[in-house]
């Protein structure tokens, strides 16, 4: 590839990155300024971070919200990866007409607005006495057609020879999945992990309805609390928003290599 084309690539990436990073800059600048300075349009990082932090922990239970959000997101990610990847694998590797039809039916599940099933779902969990439990948070969105389909599409590129060879070696079907498929599909798992973690982390409406106690506060709830009053402390709000954004960004930073560095190539 010529130097010129490489240059264009950098320019495109540079522009895209600039626009993408701007809000982060805005949050950092906001988190380090006092509320009145932010309202008056100050856009350079200031020296008010410690005061904002003190105000935030005096106003909200930050440690608890972080811990809860992490617990919820981690549990969700873990269960989702296991349940959906094995299902996606099952749909594709052993595909037949019935399974293809079922997949299409399952896809319907992602097409109904959540508001429509909110009340029946709440009714269900409250009749089981599961209000306020993490089980009620996790169960409805552990299995999503989208994740199943993602693993199903990924399994489509999984070489059949590997399966055949493994069967000849006497591995059980479950062993093939765990020992052959899972390690090969790191890129898909990496992407799925990031996306599930992010969705679970940012989920608001359902946790708000199903968790009825202060002790279940999550980061998005904390951010919502910060702007609920008659007057808003923007410095504190921006710090809260920043702290709510960083974990997902960090998870992505750690995982991004896994889903973009030619792992399939290494297998062959």
């Amino acid at each position: 590839m010529s130097k010129f084309k490489l240059g264009i690539s950098y320019v495109i990436l540079g522009i895209a990155s600039f626009f993408s990073v701007f809000p982060l800059y805005y949050m950092i600048s906001g988190a380090t300024n006092s509320s009145i300075d932010i309202v008056r349009g100050r856009m350079v990082p200031g020296t008010y971070l410690v005061e904002n932090f003190k105000a935030l922990i005096a106003n909200q239970n930050l440690g608890l919200a972080m811990a809860n959000s992490f617990r919820n997101a981690v549990l969700m990610t873990l269960f989702t990866l296991v349940v959906c990847s094995i299902a996606g694998y099952g749909f594709e590797i052993y595909h037949d007409k019935g399974k293809d039809i079922l997949m299409n039916i399952l896809l319907l599940a992602m097409m109904l607005p959540f508001v429509a099933i909110l009340i029946p779902l709440f009714k269900m969990f409250s009749s089981w006495g599961l209000v306020n439990s993490w089980v009620a948070f996790v169960l409805p969105s552990v299995s999503t057609p989208f994740m199943i389909m993602m693993f199903r599409q990924a399994a489509r590129s999984f070489p059949e020879e590997i399966i055949d060879a493994a069967r000849i070696d006497g591995l059980s079907e479950l062993q093939i999945f765990f020992r052959m498929f899972v390690p090969t599909m790191k890129s898909t798992y990496g992407a799925a992990m990031t996306v599930t973690f992010m969705n679970a982390w940012n989920n608001y409406l359902w946790p708000k309805v199903i968790f009825q106690k202060n002790e279940s506060i999550t980061m998005p709830m904390l951010v919502a609390n910060l702007k609920s009053g008659y007057s808003v402390d923007y410095g504190m709000l921006m710090l809260g928003v920043l702290l709510c954004t960083l974990p997902t960004a960090i998870i992505f930073l750690c995982l991004q290599k896994s889903f973009a560095n030619g792992i399939m190539g290494a297998v062959k």
Binding site: V83, H95, K99, I117
Partner: protein, 294 residues
């Protein structure tokens, strides 16, 4: 004899397949289809709480007379038709560039481009509102370029454009992640071979990347379809549906008639079922076009 044994392994494998997908499928049936079925029943009733009565299709007949609904349907389809293609193509281009082994600092670029979708809604809507304000940065830029400034949030079309820009900004990096993951399944030697054949960047993009990424593109297309038709955050937080109802989405409208205005859950359920049918048709078309095994 031999043939029989082969048949039975195949049968056994099929059963293993069903066992693998059973937990996921059961969860979806219990926590999605069962409530969905209840929503369909709700849509055939009227009245609140326990006092509900069966009223047949009256909620569906009401849809035809509901001007706000048709306005929201139009808005939502506008977002769908304009935003989804722009976003997916942009995501593909970025993924393609970032897949080039010669590019340095990929990790940083990838993370930065992913950032928007991780960004909390609160800060992102604050920023967009101030950028597109009457005396905001965008209008200053337009004036410096000698163009007339736009009242972004008081003009219907301008406000819709702001929503499209916000959506593209927020979700391009997200879709890029799937393409990056999908591109790993394409052997880079295919590209190297194409260099030798003298193919240019466009040819490589259309002849290699797009066909080989087809399963992933289908995945993101279906995701974006359902995402756009359930679009809620931007409509609520950026424009509050306004001016008038000209940027309000269907999901926002359904939320409003459930929780903000005089509650009409049965009607909301009817609208939801209507959307479900519509998205299902759209996705069925996409599946027909995109989901074929070679």
């Amino acid at each position: 004899m031999n043939k029989n044994r082969k048949m039975s392994t195949e049968k056994r494998h099929r059963l293993v397949g069903w066992a693998f997908l059973a937990p996921a499928a059961i969860l979806i049936f219990v926590f999605c289809f069962f409530p969905m079925f209840q929503a369909i029943l709700l849509s055939l009733q009227s009245g609140s709480g326990d006092a509900a009565k069966w009223t047949g299709l009256s909620n569906y007949i009401r849809i035809w007379k509901d001007k706000t609904f048709w306005q929201c349907l139009f808005n939502t389809f506008f977002y769908f038709l304009v935003q989804v293609p722009i976003m997916l193509i942009l995501a593909l281009v970025l993924a393609q560039i970032l897949n080039n082994p010669k590019i340095k600092g990929k990790g940083i670029f990838r993370t930065m481009i992913f950032l928007p979708c991780a960004t909390s809604l609160v800060s992102y809507s604050m920023i967009f509102k101030s950028l597109f304000a009457n005396d905001g940065a965008v209008n200053h830029l337009l004036m410096n370029l000698g163009l007339t400034p736009v009242n972004w949030f008081s003009d219907s079309w301008a406000a819709r454009v702001v929503i499209v820009i916000a959506l593209v900004w927020r979700w391009t990096g997200y879709n890029m992640v799937f393409y990056l993951a999908g591109l790993q399944n394409i052997d880079y030697s295919v590209y190297e071979a194409s260099y030798i054949d003298g193919a240019n960047a466009f040819q490589r993009f259309f002849k290699i990347t797009i066909p080989l990424l087809k399963p992933t593109i289908l995945l993101t297309a279906i995701m974006s379809t359902s995402g756009t038709l359930q679009l809620f955050d931007e409509s609520v937080n950026l424009t509050a549906g306004g001016p008038g109802k000209s940027t309000m989405t269907l999901a926002h409208y359904i939320y409003n008639i459930s929780f903000v205005e005089t509650p009409k859950f049965h009607y909301a359920a009817a609208l939801s079922v209507f959307i479900l049918v519509m998205v299902a048709i759209l996705s069925a078309i996409q599946m027909k076009v995109g989901d074929k095994r070679e």
